[in-house]
Symmetry: C3
Subunit: 440 residues, 3 copies
């Protein structure tokens, strides 16, 4: 993908969009070959390890289901014409359906058909992972044009023992404190939810791998719910280094950004996200309170684990028309929406890595900055300028307990400006790092 | 009163209003036969015990006054015509007046006459419990039509040693933690303030007595100030089980509800009342800060006792024209106003009793609700439905420290819906009660 | 100045303005004869001690500069006409300039000339304390009318070893807890910033000296930055009695009042100032968050000292056109602006001195106020009146932990009304002082 990199090596929005287009036609589910094929494509971006958990394994309160091997699914009318065919859209079959073959009257078929009467052109996305059921999803318009039957119905699919797969990538930083980035990988043919999250997580991992970050970063690519539960089962004894986490999904559309807070609501990552979003998208982001519904934050934030995990999305599940329908397609995610999100994720990572608590080494009165060339020789001007304000804020607040993100929030100065000024003060032996903010 | 019960045994608004009408003509004061007669009528609703404190007893910083025995009071003009007569309204005599008989000029009489110039048709309510005084209350219109006199004046009343009475009813619950409900019983012929409080307290007590509540409930029916002080004097060594308290008064009019917070302002009962009022009257209630003026919360919240007591009213004393006047009559309180308030009080009691802190027994990840028939088999729908949201909120928040009322406030789900869902989770061994919220 | 005192001995606004007019023409700087002459004039108001720190002394991270002895400065055109002359305004010379004498072309001179293009009539104020520089300040209009030169330039000034002076006055109160009042004294010919602060600090000191205040008060009159740093150096071992501090400056204009909070933002003095400003200027004051830019609060609030010091001004530095220009003159400060500020400072001092925490000595129930003549004999009135509300608030809140200023904030009753009522309750043995609020 080298020819799609922007100058400086960053993936362009177009490159990200092309990767999504490559993943889009693969029939994914929570288990089976679709997941493996998708993870293999992500490995071209970042060197994920692929893990396996055997079907039938007990994971926390759950059991890992069999693999789902899907070939095709269709409904034909009396004339043999295929009215619905999974060749047209992977969404047409209720995901994880058991096989079926036979003739059905309209009345017999209807309980197995799912439509969106309010969005008559769209095919909904439905699943049946944990029940022995089958079904089809179709546009309401198609349903209304179907005759009385009889209909030939075929789902050629198999549930059989195998494994559940997930991907994982650990980037070892200078500190063993970890930031968890989790994204779900099980949705078939939905571009924003969650091919956008998959490619952006891999792209961020690639970007962070180019040097040794301050914090360690752990990326997990898991089938929704059962994948997160499997990962938690397998890693429950090694969760303590996690100081923050982001579930990322739905980041390729053009909606405003939303940070759903951690279960606590006022942890370090909540403060950091508020600050970074305020800098990056001051008037167009929203902080949402925690709720127990949503994506895999449901598992990470269950009371037994209570991990410091929130969720970053653009549009919020259930609040936009394209959600879980055939309209969440390659037009709904845009190159610009993706590249903005990658830029935001890189800002978040940079801010997280640099959120240091400093100690002023000359804390009694202001040190004489002018003598060190850090202050204008001409006094009594109205406006001290951004660098001088950064220096003054850092010196005043660096009492060994106040982090850059806290100073940024108080001062209105960006974290990157403060970071730059802090390095200058370090050079002049006026400031020394004490610890990372996440160690509070 | 059986024929006035609604289906299900609840008192109707009409029945409550009739009871008020029966109490209305009795000449009450802080002591004397009027209090005894009134308590006897309340005993037809709920089995109060009637207590006595002898006149002259020291109670905290006060002394119990003598009983007031009132017969009649009038002012006649020179022709012998009675211009003012207590037979027309008990408010005409300043309550607790010493006896008087004689002829007075207008000038001599004026200092003893009380009117409301701004409300010329209304008779004010005035008292003189702790001074050797007498007086009359009359409409300003009557005052203006009185001639120059001389006037014959008679108050046939006696202060003599006896007792102060108060009523008390203890409903022993499963826990010895108590909720105190206090209402004053001393006002003569004022329907809202406080015959409404008297009959509603008795009705709530009757309703709570039909089964064993979770908490214990203590109802006290006391003459204002001196009665509360007497009750506190007699019970000062047994106040520690009180975990919450409500002074209730003025609940029969049609004004919005007002919760005056406890002295602390953020106790369990404050949170509970905010939640219940939010559910029952979301846009038409007000939370008032504590102030040391008002009803008997003044005594319960004195700094030595500092009990967790707030006050529930509809209209607030001193803020509506009918307050402490002859306009606070049988038309001012309505059957619907009373039945709404009884319903609200029962909701408060139910919410208080059921405000349990639970522990999630499967706290690592979400338990698999689908396997237990508690979750839809068809996944990926937009809207999880109220029951499923209740289950998720309860499981996520039940960490052994978070009460139903806290979860209700966070989730926007009503306490009764959460309560129902909690019982379902208890049946499935997913939730276990830890303690009552008031035990925080 | 006796004939300028108002009845009762308080300085009038006119007297304060006349004092400012006397100080206005003196050429002040951070060191030198101007400071000494100015302090001597302030001594006519209040008996300041004048301290000296030798040039070259190390003070914290700084060194005390030499004295600046200024005689005159001018620029003459080719014809010998003086275009700019310090005889017209002390602002014309960049303060602390090194001497210069010679002929300059326009191009050579320009880097040494400072104007305000946006305010073409005004002369800016500039300084160069810590660099070997010289310069002139002039109106932009004058600059534009200057020809091409050559120009004769002369600054007759000397930097030579001597001392830095500051003034200090300690008023020993009943308690050794101190309130620090600091004002800067180095600005030449700027009436509001800071001749207003200098004369008002002296006037407040004079006023507080007339009796023994509850708290001790320490007034310091220091050259900006280096003076505060010198004072901190010399007093660093005796700062612990300081329970509050106010930097005062810019108090003679007619802008609204601004309290810039302490570094902590919620200390006793912050609460007190919020209360006093709310009483004195309810709709026309602003509470500003702390920031590390401003006046000498920068030094007092450096993290090593972290003194409980905020700042009181009317207009805020850098936000009004007259700031640090020749427009900050004797017309900009007014007698009424000054007398309002003196009145406010006296209210602050009174409130600070009287902010006592009391204990209710009859805390169980309300004490019977009527028996003590403290409550109306006629009951059931709507409005209890201000004194009775003050008594009730004090009795209810005085639990040995709640200060008058807290009660004032909760009740909406002024501190002086509460103070008066508290004294009445003390007389009746119902209230006893426990400690001063600053001892929290």
């Amino acid at each position: 993908m080298n020819n799609d990199l922007a100058p400086g090596g960053k993936l362009t929005g177009d490159a990200l969009h092309q990767l999504i287009a490559k993943l889009y036609p693969i029939m994914r589910s929570i288990t089976g070959p679709g997941v493996r094929e998708s993870l293999a494509i992500l490995q071209t971006l970042a060197p994920l390890d692929i893990h396996e958990v055997a079907s039938g394994s007990q994971v926390l309160d759950w059991n890992v289901p069999d693999e789902w091997h899907f070939k095709s699914a269709w409904i034909a009318d009396a004339s043999g014409k295929r009215i619905i065919d999974s060749a047209d859209s992977n969404l047409h079959v209720v995901n994880f359906s058991v096989p079926v073959e036979g003739e059905f009257t309209r009345e017999q078929l209807l309980p197995h058909l799912h439509t969106l009467p309010d969005q008559p052109e769209s095919i909904p996305y439905r699943t049946t992972y944990y029940a022995e059921q089958w079904g089809f999803c179709l546009s309401h318009k198609t349903l209304e044009s179907m005759g009385d039957g009889p209909f030939q119905v075929r789902i050629d699919a198999q549930r059989k023992p195998g494994v559940l797969n997930y991907g994982e990538l650990f980037i070892c930083g200078k500190s063993d404190r970890e930031v968890l980035v989790s994204t779900h990988i099980c949705h078939p043919q939905l571009a924003n939810d969650n091919l956008s999250g998959m490619v952006l997580a891999a792209a961020l991992a690639a970007s962070l791998s180019t040097s040794t970050p301050e914090l360690s970063w752990r990326f997990v690519f898991v089938p929704g719910t059962i994948g997160a539960i499997s990962w938690l089962e397998q890693n429950q004894s090694s969760l303590s280094p996690i100081v923050a986490g982001l579930v990322i999904t739905g980041l390729g559309d053009n909606s405003d950004y939303h940070w759903k807070k951690t279960r606590d609501g006022s942890l370090w990552i909540d403060q950091l996200m508020a600050q970074v979003l305020n800098e990056a998208a001051p008037s167009t982001h929203t902080l949402l309170p925690f709720s127990p519904y949503g994506y895999d934050e449901r598992q990470y934030c269950s009371p037994g684990f209570n991990l410091p995990v929130g969720r970053l999305t653009r549009g919020v599940h259930g609040t936009f028309a394209q959600y879980h329908t055939s309209e969440d397609n390659l037009d709904f995610v845009t190159a610009s929406g993706l590249s903005q999100s990658l830029e935001l994720l890189e800002k978040i990572a940079a801010a997280a890595n640099r959120d240091i608590i400093y100690q002023n080494l000359s804390p009694y009165g202001e040190p004489q900055l002018g003598r060190r060339g850090l202050y204008s020789a001409l006094g009594a001007n109205n406006d001290p300028g951004k660098l001088q304000m950064s220096l003054l804020w850092l010196l005043n607040q660096s009492d060994g307990q106040t982090s850059l993100s806290t100073i940024a929030a108080k001062s209105g100065i960006s974290m990157s400006d403060l970071d730059e000024a802090a390095r200058l003060l370090e050079e002049h032996q006026l400031l020394a790092p004490v610890r990372h903010a996440s160690a509070d």
